[in-house]
Amino acid sequence: MSTKLVPTPGQTVGPFYGYALPFEKDNELLPPGFPGSIRLQGTVYDGAGHTIPDAILEIWQPDADGKIVQRTGSLVRDGYTFTGWGRGAVGNSGVFTFTTVNPGPTKPGAAPFISVALFARGLTNRLFTRIYLPEDTEALANDPLLGSLDPERRKTLIARRDPDGGLTWDIRLQGEGETVFLDFQ
């Protein structure tokens, strides 16, 4: 088939997703305290530096060995099955949290990252970005996307390691320190 169909456009998630999209344990890819689990957290800011209370994120990642998981059951977390996908709405203070594992490299030498889709009221279409782990500096230096960015912008995609082993990574939609968002077309 040579003729490509034109994609259906996106629209804002609006203000009222809060009773529809969240589900029980949506942000727990593993139960907190599960061996190897970490907390991933961050805050979403607008262009005035204010936190956004109505954004919702999805993360999608390989497991700790870098394997891409294709298992169902995300919506009915059984406490054992790691599906690699989670959804987390920010709270009133703009903070999101996930319980997950450090993603492994999907290829030898590749920089491990978590894929992110962001939705918010006032955001007319979803945005994609990535959260890289900070440790493997050689892999980060060789990463094609990070290599295409100047150092200031590059920093927005790399999480900080917390003393408790968790990750902190903030999103700035606009202005100083604006997060790098991705176009895959």
Partner: protein, 290 residues
């Protein structure tokens, strides 16, 4: 637009929770009228049509920077999106199955003891990729206002009745041919606080997954012939008429069921960079075993 209005809109988008009459008072002496907004919308539309005539590429997605939708002013990236070649995880999609979603979740009219009020409708169609191949076995989620234009959401203060028999949430898993089908109630239009006398055309919110995470979208489905289309800054964030039309369902009498419900058809196309089809098939087969 003045800074103080932006701040106020950020804090509350809807009419105040006062008695219904209060909604008919001007909300703020500085608040903008529909005429102000319509002038902005037309100016952007005309500039776009001129650019098209001069050989510009048609835009197929909403603009991230669309000032008539006031809440977008501080929430759009100012730098252009960074091109990235999707890697590994991004070329796969999370998997959902019948374990995740009960078959009855696609009927929004049977979630309570009684029948919801309003016009019963069936919305059905197919989820396809850019080559017209079905997106099979994937999750579709919807949410919507009731027939009076009211959401079951604590932030919705529109003084229209809540329907105790209608929540307005549905989910389903697409069939092998990419098909989905929801039975619901036609949602009502509802007011919001973008500007004075701002009303959203009736719509159903749709959340869709493709065969790759890069195809993930959330969007809104509209109903044909809505008089609010030209006035709505959210629908108009898509400046291209052909692209906007892709969000409008078609009345389809072959979906209509006698003595029961009116039918609408809406097909959805999810595109993104592609894994090769053989990889896709291999994955689809493995996915079925879960």
């Amino acid at each position: 637009m003045p800074e103080d209005i932006t701040a106020e809109l950020e804090s509350e988008e809807l009419v105040p929770p006062a008695e219904p009459k209060a909604a008919h008072q001007p909300l703020d002496k500085a608040i903008e009228s529909q005429a102000d907004l319509s002038a902005e919308i037309s100016a952007i539309g005309e500039a776009y049509r001129r650019a098209l005539k001069d050989g510009g590429q048609p835009e197929i997605q909403p603009r991230l920077d669309y000032p008539p939708y006031r809440s977008s002013i501080l929430r759009h990236p100012t730098k252009s999106l960074q091109h990235a070649d999707p890697e590994t995880i991004e070329l796969y999609s999370p998997a959902f199955g019948h374990q995740d979603v009960h078959a009855l979740e696609s009927d929004l009219t049977i979630q309570h003891n009684g029948e919801p009020l309003g016009e019963r409708i069936i919305v059905s169609g197919k989820v396809l990729d850019g080559d017209g191949r079905p997106v099979a076995g994937q999750l579709v989620e919807i949410w919507q206002a009731n027939s009076s234009g009211r959401y079951i959401h604590k932030r919705d203060q529109h003084p229209a009745p809540i329907d105790p028999n209608f929540t307005g949430i549905g989910r389903c898993i697409t069939g092998p041919d990419g098909s989905y089908r929801f039975t619901t109630i036609k949602p009502g239009a509802y007011p919001w606080k973008n500007h004075l006398n701002a009303w959203r055309p009736a719509h159903i919110h749709f959340s869709l997954f493709g065969t790759e995470f890069t195809q993930r979208i959330i969007t809104q489905m509209y109903f044909p012939g809505d008089q609010l289309f030209p006035l709505d800054p959210i629908y108009q964030t898509i400046v291209d008429q052909d692209a906007r039309d892709r969000l409008v369902a078609t009345y389809d009498h072959s979906i209509t069921e006698p003595e029961w419900a009116l039918g609408y058809n809406w097909d959805i196309v999810l595109t993104g960079p592609k894994r090769t089809w053989t990889e896709n098939e291999a994955l689809g087969a493995a996915g079925d075993e879960e």
